[in-house]
């Protein structure tokens, strides 16, 4: 059923995209079936979360104009083909691109940036943003219809480790059990992430919130989630969702950030340790 749904979505998407007379659409549908019946391509990090989505149709002119803009503004970080480059992720495997229908998600990121991840914002007109969206979608479509002969990391690339050795490392030298439990917080982790995403989360989990307790000179304390800190300022979101900040000069504070233990490990792993650990973590389903 899922497979059929997927095919239906894919056909609709192609039909929407090319806006051709129905006879041609039928031909294309045939091609789509042909592709799906070929040798199974390795599961990528996109497309494993459910059926393929419906994307808006984009004209060839929009895609071409978007390609030109992409070379100017995006290619340095995301690669000429949107397949990843210096520092920017592979957009052809991006879940966000996958889930974006008509630029609502991609457009917001282009306009606002993702400053915390080093992505700047761009001041482009609506038409330009939509052209970029068209290009990124077309690149993802191309990549999804290929059989994997392009740069990128497939889940199958990451299967060189040994589960038993990984388990040993997890319970022993890796000191993972100081904070984690295979049957507790990590139970089912391999169903929540897979492939490269899982390995990245394993090595350094993103967006983990730290706790902080701040004590003012008068002895009053506040606790909450660390919202910001630099050399001069510390800020938290308290239990009521309220943002509060202090000059570090005026207070003492204690940050509880267990994620830092992952940084300590970077100098200790061998590559084999990482691959073994990955093999083991993938069993936590």
């Amino acid at each position: 059923m899922v497979r059929m749904l997927r095919q239906a979505f894919f056909c609709k998407r192609l039909a929407l995209k090319v806006l051709l007379p129905s006879a041609c659409v039928l031909t294309l549908v045939g091609v789509a079936y042909g592709q799906n019946q070929g040798p199974a391509r390795p599961k990528s990090t996109v497309g494993s979360q459910g059926p393929l989505p419906v994307h808006e149709a984009f004209s060839a002119a929009a895609i071409e104009a978007g390609g030109s803009l992409f070379q100017q503004h995006c290619a340095f970080c995301h690669g000429r083909d949107a397949g990843g480059g210096e520092s920017g992720p592979d957009l052809t495997r991006s879940k966000l691109v996958f889930d974006d229908k008509n630029g609502e998600a991609i457009g917001a990121i282009i306009r606002n940036g993702r400053l915390e991840k080093g992505m700047p914002k761009f001041s482009l007109g609506d038409a330009e943003v939509m052209n970029l969206v068209a290009f990124v979608h077309s690149q993802q479509d191309k990549a999804l219809s290929q059989s994997g002969n392009r740069k990128g990391v497939d889940t199958s690339d990451l299967q060189t480790g040994n589960v038993e050795k990984g388990r040993e490392y997890f319970n022993g030298a890796g000191t993972c059990v100081k904070c984690h439990s295979a049957t507790g917080d990590l139970a089912g982790v391999a169903t929540r992430y897979e492939g490269l995403k899982l390995e990245q989360q394993m090595l350094y989990p993103r967006n983990v919130k730290a706790k902080v307790r701040v004590t003012e000179r008068n002895g009053r304390t506040s606790a909450g989630t660390l919202a910001f800190q630099d050399e001069f300022t510390i800020a938290l979101i308290d239990g009521n969702g309220v943002y509060r900040s202090w000059s570090k000069r005026d207070v003492t504070y204690k940050v509880d950030a267990p994620v830092k233990a992952h940084v300590e490990l970077f100098d200790k792993y061998t590559d084999a340790d990482i691959h073994n650990l990955m093999a083991y973590i993938q069993t936590l389903r």
Binding site: A75, F76, S87, P89, P120, Q200, Y204, D230, I274
Partner: protein, 527 residues
């Protein structure tokens, strides 16, 4: 009489011409000005030819820097981040973002002119600024042309192609001008192209010479790449220019380009008259991690282990700090300045030995530092008094992948950063030991470094704070939150007896100085 006027007299300007000095000066940023920049100027990307980014100015001191206040700010009203090193000539600052050049009054921050180029298909990753010679500016376009503009109004006088943007190169560089040679290179490692340094005639744009970093494209079993994209330095005594070259291509796949891949990831000494290679030293033999060696080759004269030396220092993107004898390129010191895990040690010539097991692989390799490197184009500074080489470092870890299916063209693999932070490292150049460190926060640091003879370090942190530190111990003496990320390097100059510190953040240029009443320096230039 200030230094500027003194130097004018030395260069044969008659005293009687002083009254009309501005007009006169507008005619001439001479070779002598470039050799001995007056304190009211910043006529070269680095401030001077040495790349030390150390200023003799002392009005702002560790004692009074706490009073530093905003003199003015200039808004480019662009989204593009300022990465440019503003040049200061005759009281006017010239700086850039891709497709844009501004001329701004250095006293008031008022716009003099703005030149906007037609946009191009070239990559718009950033722009590092213009060069100036006589009354002309030299600007590299995003599609790798070199333009000569009239400094008075920004009118384009000529335009020559430096590299073919349709093949994949682009340009960001502030050219290096020595004598009547305007030297430029290009960027671009998404394609297998040849890196080069070209010298053109400042009057006509005609090519004088070109030095190629790698063999012609298509030469079997050799590398391509080696793009030079950060301004070099110059030693007038030895008459050598020093340039760093970029990484080899394909970037992450080293199998199809066996050997050291000369002259990629190299520091090269060229004769500026002929472009002939005099010596080369390779910080990253057979690079497979995108670690250009284009970081500033800083020229320092001083003692090394008891003997006087003409040295060249580079804190390289690959995580190693190098001290070379710049007369012959021989190694004096090689030492990491942060966590590195990609080598088997250092060879007898001072070159790191890459560990073959740390080349990108299908199942991934954990690599320190990450692709952005332990440092990058952001300029370091050398403080002669303390002997400290101060660099904005980025300890970092990442995963590198490459498999046969990734091919042999361009990137040919994939890499993913895991974690990164910024630390300002003050390196004792004689031992490579870190004398002090100043944490800059988690994330990517982007600010360059400036030191002054009064004992101050100016830089910026990851969060976007401008910082003034004590050079002796790295303590913070002053800070101001800039409101955005910092991607430029601080500069300083003195005008009308007032010392300014320039800093860029986001799309804004800030000028700081002491409050009017606190100017300790002499009053206006002697007249």
């Amino acid at each position: 009489m200030n230094l500027f006027y003194r130097s004018m007299i030395r260069f044969g300007v008659v005293a009687g011409a002083l009254a009309s000095a501005p007009v006169l000066v507008a005619q001439g940023v001479s070779s002598d000005t470039l050799l001995h920049p007056p304190k009211d100027s910043w006529p070269i990307y680095h401030g001077d030819y040495s790349g030390k980014r150390h200023s003799a100015l002392t009005q702002i001191t560790p004692q009074n820097v706490k009073n530093l206040t905003l003199a003015w700010a200039f808004q480019t009203n662009q989204v593009a981040q300022l990465k440019s090193a503003p040049l200061l000539v005759d009281g006017i600052l010239y700086f850039t973002v891709p497709d844009n050049i501004w001329a701004v009054d250095a006293r008031s921050g008022r716009l003099v002119w703005h030149h906007s180029s037609p946009t191009t298909k070239g990559l718009h990753i950033g722009h590092r600024g213009v060069a100036v010679y006589k009354d002309k500016l030299y600007y590299t376009t995003t599609d790798a042309h070199l333009q000569c503009l009239d400094a008075r109004d920004g009118k384009v006088k000529w335009d020559v192609e430096i590299a073919d943007a349709n093949k994949g190169q682009w340009a960001t560089m502030s050219p290096l001008i020595v004598g009547n040679h305007v030297m430029v290179g290009a960027s671009g490692d998404f394609d297998n192209l040849q890196g080069f340094i070209r010298s053109v005639d400042p009057e006509t744009g005609a090519t004088q010479w070109q030095w190629d970093a790698t063999p012609p494209v298509g030469t079997p079993k050799t590398t391509t790449g080696g793009n030079a994209w950060v301004t070099g330095t110059y030693d007038p005594e030895l008459n050598l220019v020093y340039w760093g070259t970029g990484n080899p291509t394909p970037v992450l796949n080293g199998k199809v380009r066996p050997g050291d891949n000369l002259y990629t990831c190299s520091i090269v000494a060229l004769n500026p008259e002929t472009g002939k290679l005099v010596w080369a030293f390779q910080p990253s033999p057979h690079d497979t991690h995108d670690w250009d060696a284009v970081e500033i080759p800083v020229l320092v004269d001083g003692d090394f282990h008891g003997k006087p030396h003409n040295m060249l220092m580079q804190a390289s993107r690959n995580g190693y700090f190098f001290v070379l004898d710049r007369t012959n390129g021989k190694s004096l010191l090689t030492t990491p300045f942060g966590p590195v895990n990609w080598t088997l040690g250092v060879d007898k010539d001072g070159r790191p030995i890459p560990n073959p097991d740390k080349e990108p692989a299908p199942d991934g390799r954990l690599i320190a530092p990450d692709e952005g490197g332990m440092t990058n184009y952001r300029s370091p500074s050398f403080d002669p008094k303390t002997g400290l080489f101060i660099v904005s470092a980025a300890p970092s870890y990442s995963l590198y992948f490459a498999k046969p299916a990734d091919g042999t063209y361009g990137w040919a693999g994939a890499d993913y950063g895991l974690w990164k932070k910024g630390v300002l490292e003050a390196i004792d150049y004689q031992t490579g030991k870190i004398r002090w460190s100043h944490e800059l926060g988690e994330g990517s640091p982007g600010s360059g470094v400036l030191t002054t003879a009064s004992g101050l370090v100016f830089t910026g942190d990851v969060a976007g704070n401008f910082l003034a530190l004590d050079t002796a111990d790295g303590r913070t003496l002053w800070h101001a939150y800039s409101g955005s990320g910092i991607n430029g390097g601080p500069e300083t100059y003195e005008l009308d007896g007032r010392q300014y510190v320039l800093m860029t953040s986001g799309s804004v240029l800030f000028a700081w100085s002491l409050p009017e009443a606190e100017h300790a320096g002499p009053a206006r230039a002697a007249k």
